[in-house]
């Protein structure tokens, strides 16, 4: 294999990995705060893609603009779903939430099929197919935009978690829910906001997914597998871990598909996952919770 092709696949891998990181960030945050595995996360991302496609086709709104509209809408929906449904179930039996979000995923898939049919779709803007050369490598513009937007949103999320009171409260809740409550954190409110932020990120990712990849209602099953692999590999609940894992897997996937074979590319996710879990069961950046005596 030529060094040029390896370099090209590395570039594609980094750009795709940036996108994966954003997709996984919301999932990881929700797990961190609530210990809820949101199986419907990818279905929500695909929903964002469909809404963005509709806004683009009927009103001519650019997907990057529709992203700004989708963030508050998905935030609101996320808060409503958390407060109205997830929270009630989570307080009774956390394992039930897996079943519930699984159900959500199927409902969303059915809804998308009913509205948009199960035909393949893509958001094709005027700049969709453009790319520019850098040292003999081609950088696809949409991938660069998607990766850049991912970085900006992830940086925003990181700042929110690190430098604000809300962020400190969220992190405290992730680390120890009971202690956070004892020191006066309104855990319930923090949980609702965190869940809503997670869903808002999913909504924001939708238009990017729609520009980069073909999608149809059942695509979310392909994605949720990848996203779960990313958050588990990175360490459940760790944003930094999700970012590193997404980059690793994005690069591994692209390089595998050009060096070994295309059908090995999806498998490489899970080979990586098994490898890491054998050596570090808590994932790359996960922490081991001390067992209470």
């Amino acid at each position: 294999m030529s060094p040029g092709l390896l370099a090209q696949s590395l570039v594609l891998g980094v750009l795709t990995g940036g996108m994966y990181a954003l997709m996984a960030a919301g999932l990881s945050l929700i797990f961190g705060v609530m210990r809820v595995i949101n199986i419907a996360h990818a279905a929500m991302i695909v929903m964002g893609a469909y809404l963005s496609l509709t806004l683009f086709l009927h009103l001519g709104i650019d997907p990057l603009v529709s992203m700004l509209l989708l963030i508050p809408i998905f935030f609101g929906l996320g808060a409503l779903v958390q407060w109205g449904v997830v929270n009630r179930l989570a307080e009774r039996d956390i394992t039930l939430t897996v079943l519930m979000t699984f159900g959500f995923a199927i409902i969303l898939e059915g809804l998308q099929g009913a509205i948009w049919t199960s035909s393949y779709q893509g958001i094709k803007t005027g700049y969709s197919l453009e790319s520019f050369p850098v040292w003999g490598l081609y950088i696809p513009i949409v991938r660069l935009i998607a990766a850049s937007v991912s970085l900006v949103l992830l940086a925003g999320l990181y700042s929110l978690l690190t430098f604000t009171n809300l962020g400190r409260a969220i992190r405290a809740t992730i680390q120890n829910r009971t202690s956070a409550q004892l020191i006066g954190v309104n855990v319930r409110l923090v949980t609702t906001i965190s869940f809503a932020i997670g869903i808002a990120i999913a909504g924001a990712t939708g238009p990017l997914l729609g520009m980069l990849f073909t999608f149809y209602p059942a695509t979310h099953w392909l994605w949720i597998g990848k996203l779960l692999a990313i958050v588990v590999l990175g360490g459940l609940g760790s944003l930094r871990g999700a970012f590193v894992a997404a980059m690793l897997l994005g690069i591994a996937e692209q390089v595998t598909s050009v060096t070994i074979a295309l059908d090995w590319a999806p498998m490489i996710f899970y080979v990586f996952l098994f490898g890491v879990l054998v050596v570090r069961p808590q994932g790359l950046f996960g922490t081991v919770e001390r067992q209470s005596l």
């Binding site: 035909s119 197919l129 980069l212 392909l222 050009v258």
Partner: protein, 403 residues
């Protein structure tokens, strides 16, 4: 206890008997003649699947406007199988056993025709289909299947390979790339072409198979581009043909010739998705919009009346669907019945004139003609080879214009 045992055995025997009894509805109905179809109206095969059904609809309307078939109106009973084989199989079961349709038309693509034709064979229903030409369709030696295209899948790329091999030595490509979907029709076409090109000394620079769910073609395009392949034979259905062109274009890869097994002949949708990037792309097909075959101008005019579009384009699959109707119509009229056994016998021993030309079948339902080489030029799909074909209306452009 003994009574219960007898009852269970009796029930089991009765159920077995049900399974063996052909449920073919052979008598002419009192009302309309109902034709059952499970079609890929949504899912990854929805563009060509929808186009085939449009062909069925144009045929049915023409027949009904002319007084029906043997004096009966024709009614299409259509289910959407979402491009899923399991769903298609259960829908054909339902069409035969519950809806008790009189006749069956096939679904789009070999992948769905292979499992569903077994249902038709089980119930001894003539399975006239326009889009299942892979070798596996005919391997089981079914008596009731009839593929309505000029030739089988292995031969689809022959006119393209012939054209490449006839190029002067200094223009002849040295290597070819075969990025292809995991699909029985695609692999038959691609393997046939690859064997001939390799035998003629054109090296295989790239060959990879991707799943039907592949949605990202960037790394494929990067690898094909770096392989330095002079020409590309893409093993595609539709969305992946569009995906490949977009990714090749983004990677600034400019092959001298591009052939897709399926996609370019779904004219309207293909042009809409790719605009002027369609120019130079080739495919193999049995039909072209301005064909001079008898009945074709009326088919084209009626299609555009029923399914108007801004480009005034008729997809190739609609012609395949329409031909299926023509074949069934000829058999029903000749046998003066909807008795599927008689229809199958008649088709095995007769040729039928369709908008794709005259088609006849061997004992396994395989047609014995050949395909045309078609190329997009200035936004129109032209027949560019073979030279002897009366519908040839342009010369092939090589190397293809850049995209």
């Amino acid at each position: 206890m003994r009574k219960a045992l007898v009852a269970i055995v009796g029930l089991a025997l009765a159920l077995t008997a049900c399974g063996n009894t052909p449920s073919t509805q052979s008598a002419l109905p009192s009302g309309p003649i109902v034709i059952g179809v499970s079609q890929a109206l949504t899912g990854d095969k929805s563009d060509p699947g929808t186009a085939i059904n449009q062909g069925y609809a144009v045929w049915a309307k023409q027949v009904n406007d002319a007084g029906g078939l043997l004096g009966h109106q024709v009614e299409l009973k259509v289910y959407d199988n979402q491009s899923l084989a399991d769903t298609a199989v259960s829908q054909y079961e339902r069409l035969v056993t519950v809806d008790k349709v009189n006749l069956l038309f096939g679904p789009f693509s070999s992948a769905l025709t292979i499992p569903t034709s077994a249902v038709a064979e089980k119930y001894k229903m003539a399975f006239v289909e326009g889009a299942g030409g892979a070798p596996k369709v005919f391997e089981r030696k079914f008596k009731y299947i009839f593929f309505v295209q000029p030739a089988v899948a292995q031969k689809q790329a022959d006119p393209f390979v012939d054209f490449i091999l006839k190029l002067p030595a200094d223009q002849r490509p040295k290597s070819a790339a075969y990025p292809q979907q995991d699909d029985p029709f695609v692999s038959a076409t691609e393997d046939g072409a690859q064997a001939r090109l390799e035998a003629a000394g054109i090296k295989t620079a790239y060959k990879q198979v991707y799943p039907p769910t592949q949605t990202d073609f960037a790394s494929i395009a990067a690898a094909v581009s770096h392989s330095g392949a002079d020409i590309v034979l893409g093993g595609t259905i539709f969305d992946d043909a569009v995906g490949q062109v977009q990714a090749f274009s983004a990677a600034h890869y400019q092959p001298k010739a591009v052939y897709f097994t399926s996609g370019p002949s779904t004219t309207g949708a293909f042009k809409q998705a790719l605009k002027d990037k369609v120019n130079g792309i080739t495919t193999g097909d049995g039909w072209v919009q301005n064909s001079t075959e008898p009945g074709n101008p009326k088919f084209v005019a009626d299609y555009l009346k029923m399914f108007p579009n801004s480009d005034n384009l008729v997809p190739g699959e609609a012609a395949e669907g329409y031909s299926v109707g023509q074949v069934m119509e000829a058999a029903v009229k000749a046998t003066q019945s909807v008795d599927n056994a008689k229809i199958a016998d008649w088709l095995h021993s007769h040729k039928v004139s369709t908008v794709q030309g005259e088609i006849g079948w061997d004992a396994l339902g395989r047609p014995n003609g050949s395909f045309l080489l078609e190329q997009w030029q200035s936004g129109v799909l032209h027949v560019v080879a073979p030279k002897s074909d009366p519908n040839k209306d342009a010369d092939p452009v090589y190397p293809k214009p850049t995209w």
